[in-house]
Amino acid sequence: MSKEKVIRKPVEKIKPGQIVLFAVTILLAILFLYPVFFALISAFKSNGDILKNPIALPTSFYTQNFKDLFAQSDFATAIRHSIFLTVVSELLIVCIVPMAAYGIERRKSKTTSLIYTYFLAGMMIPFHLYMFPLFKEMKMFHIFGNMVGPIVCYISGSIAFGTLLYCSFLKGIPLEIEEAAQIDGCTPFQTFWKVTFPLLGPCTGSMVILNGLGIWNDYLMPYLALPSGKAKTITVEIASFVGQYTARWDIVFAGTVISIVPALIIFCMFQKYFVKGITAGAAKG
C-alpha cells in the first residue's frame, strides 16, 4: 500500500470545557483587538472627533484622512520604500543567518560557543549607544543616505536574534537525518540547504515574521539615514504628523491602518508554516 490509511477522527461530542475555553478565548481576543480597533475607527474620524469622542464609532465613511495623508506626504513612495527595505533585508538575512547558526550548532567547540555568546551580546546593545559612530561608518562605506545602509544595518541587527532562534530550533532536528545525507555523499552545503533548511520551516517563518515586522515598523534608522528630500518609510511619514505643538491623530491612524494591512496579510500567509504535522512527517523520514 503506497497510501497511508487516512484515519479520520469521528466528530467528537462537544464537551462543556471546550465551550468555556472558547468563551474565554473570545474575551481575550476582544481585549487584545480593542486598541487596534480603536485605531481603525479613529482613522475614519476627524481630529477633533477623536479627542472628544474616543469610543464612539465614526458617524460616516469619512475618508478625508486618507486623502490628506497622500496629499501631505508622498505616502506612495514611503510604502514602496518600506516594502523594499523589508523584503530585501529578509531575503539576505535568510541567506546568511541560518547558515551561521548551523555552523555554530553542528560544530560544537569552544570557539563556536564563544561566537554564539559574541552574537548574543549584540542583542543586548541598545541602538542609541552606537547610533552616531554607526552613521559615520556608514558614510565611510558610502552606504549612508541610500537604501543600502539601512539594509546592511538590519542584517547586522538580526544576526543576534536569528542565531538564538535557529540554534534553539536546530536542537530539535535529529542528527540522524543529516548523517544519512552525508553518508549519501552530500557536501555540508548540500546537507544544510537540501535537508536541514526545509526542516527549519517554522523557524524561518517565525523569524521572517518577527524580524520583518521590526523592519517594517522601524522609525529611527530610516528617519536619520535615508536620503533627504524624499519620503522615507511608512512609519516615519506617519510620525511626521505628530508635531511639537499639534498632532494630526486622524492622519496618524489612517496611516496606521494602511501599515497594518499588508503586515496582517503576510502573517496570515505564513501561518501555514505552523500547521502541525509538517515537521513531524519529515522526521519520520
Binding site: 486598541p35 543586548m124 552606537y130 515574521i209
Partner: protein
C-alpha cells in the same frame, strides 16, 4: 569521521558572512562609542576632552541613575514575567481551542503589528484621564470612582506602561511557543497516550522539556527587550511624571542627546550594556543547561 573533519573548516565558512556583518556594523561602532564615555564631549563640538573615569564616578553617586536603574528593573521584571505567562497561555489556548484557531492566532498577534510609537500613541489616548477609553467606560458602567490618572499617577505609571508592552509583546512570544508546540512530534504524544498518560502528565513530561528551547529564547528576548524599551516611554510619558518612568535607556537618550552631554550619556549606555550582559549570562547558564536535544 572524515566528514566531520570536512565540516570543521566549512563550519567557519558558514559562519563568516554573519560574523563580518555583525562585527563591522554592531561591534565596531559600539567600541568606538565606548571611547566617548571617557570624555566630556557634548556631541557636536570638534573638541573632545578626555576625562578618564569621571563620568563613571558620577554615575555611581547619581541619584538619577539609581532611580533609572530601579525603574528599569521593575519594568523589565514585570514585562518578562507577564509576557511569557500570557504568551504560553495563549499558545496553549490557540493550540487547544476547538473552533477558530486561525482567527485567534491572528487576533492575538495583531498588537505586534503596530509599531512601537503607534502603540504609544493609541494607549496614550486610551489612558487619558478626561477622554480616554478606560475612564469613559468606567464612568458609563457606573464605576466612575475607579477612574484614575493612569499615566499621571506616580504609583501607576510604570505598571500601565508595562501593560502596554505586555499587550504588544505577548503575541510575539506566543508565535515562538506555538511553533515549538507544533514541532513536538505527534508520535511521541500518541505513544504516551497509548501508555495511558493523562493530559497533564503528557504536558509535563513531554511538551515542557521539548519547548524548553522556546522558553529559553523567549525569556532571554523579553528580558533584553524589556531592558531596552524606548518608544512607548518616549511617546507616552517622556520619562515622567517627574522621573517616574525614566529608565536607563531613556536616561542615555535624555542626557546624551537632549542635554548635550554625549560623553556622559554614552557612559550610561555602557553601564546599561554591562547590566544586560550580566543578567543575561546568569539567565543563560540557568536555562541552557535544561534544554534537551532530540
Amino acid at each position: 569521521m572524515q566528514k566531520r573533519r570536512k565540516f570543521d573548516k566549512t563550519a567557519f565558512v558558514f559562519i563568516a558572512p554573519a560574523f563580518i556583518f555583525f562585527t563591522l556594523f554592531i561591534i565596531v561602532p559600539t567600541v568606538s562609542s565606548a571611547y566617548y564615555s571617557f570624555t566630556s564631549w557634548d556631541g557636536v563640538s570638534p573638541n573632545v576632552k578626555f576625562i578618564g573615569l569621571a563620568n563613571y564616578k558620577e554615575i555611581f553617586t547619581s541619584a538619577r541613575f539609581g532611580n533609572a536603574l530601579k525603574n528599569t528593573i521593575i519594568l523589565t521584571v514585570f514585562i518578562s514575567i507577564f509576557e511569557n505567562a500570557f504568551a504560553l497561555a495563549l499558545a496553549l489556548i490557540v493550540d487547544n481551542v476547538r473552533w477558530g484557531k486561525n482567527f485567534f492566532r491572528s487576533a492575538f498577534y495583531v498588537p505586534v503589528l503596530v509599531s512601537g510609537i503607534v502603540s504609544g500613541f493609541i494607549w496614550k489616548i486610551m489612558y487619558n484621564y478626561n477622554f480616554g477609553t478606560i475612564n469613559t467606560i468606567l464612568k458609563d458602567i457606573g464605576m466612575g470612582d475607579f477612574r484614575q490618572d493612569w499615566l499621571g499617577n506616580n504609583k501607576l505609571t510604570l505598571l500601565m506602561i508595562g501593560v502596554v508592552l505586555v499587550w504588544k509583546g505577548a503575541g510575539y512570544y506566543m508565535i515562538i511557543y506555538l511553533a515549538s508546540l507544533q514541532s513536538v512530534s505527534p508520535d511521541l504524544i500518541e505513544a504516551a497516550q497509548i501508555d495511558g498518560a493523562s493530559p497533564w502528565q503528557r504536558f509535563k513530561s513531554i511538551t515542557v522539556p521539548l519547548i524548553s528551547g522556546a522558553f529559553t529564547i523567549n525569556f532571554t528576548l523579553s528580558l533584553i527587550n524589556g531592558l531596552k524599551v524606548f518608544d512607548q516611554i518616549n511617546v507616552m510619558t517622556d520619562g515622567g511624571p517627574g522621573f517616574t518612568s525614566e529608565t536607563l535607556v531613556y536616561l542615555l537618550y535624555k542626557v546624551g542627546f537632549n542635554e548635550g552631554r554625549q560623553g556622559f550619556g554614552t557612559a550610561v549606555g555602557i553601564m546599561l550594556l554591562f547590566i544586560i550582559i550580566i543578567l543575561n549570562t546568569l539567565q543563560q547558564k540557568f536555562l541552557r543547561s535544561r534544554e534537551v536535544q532530540m
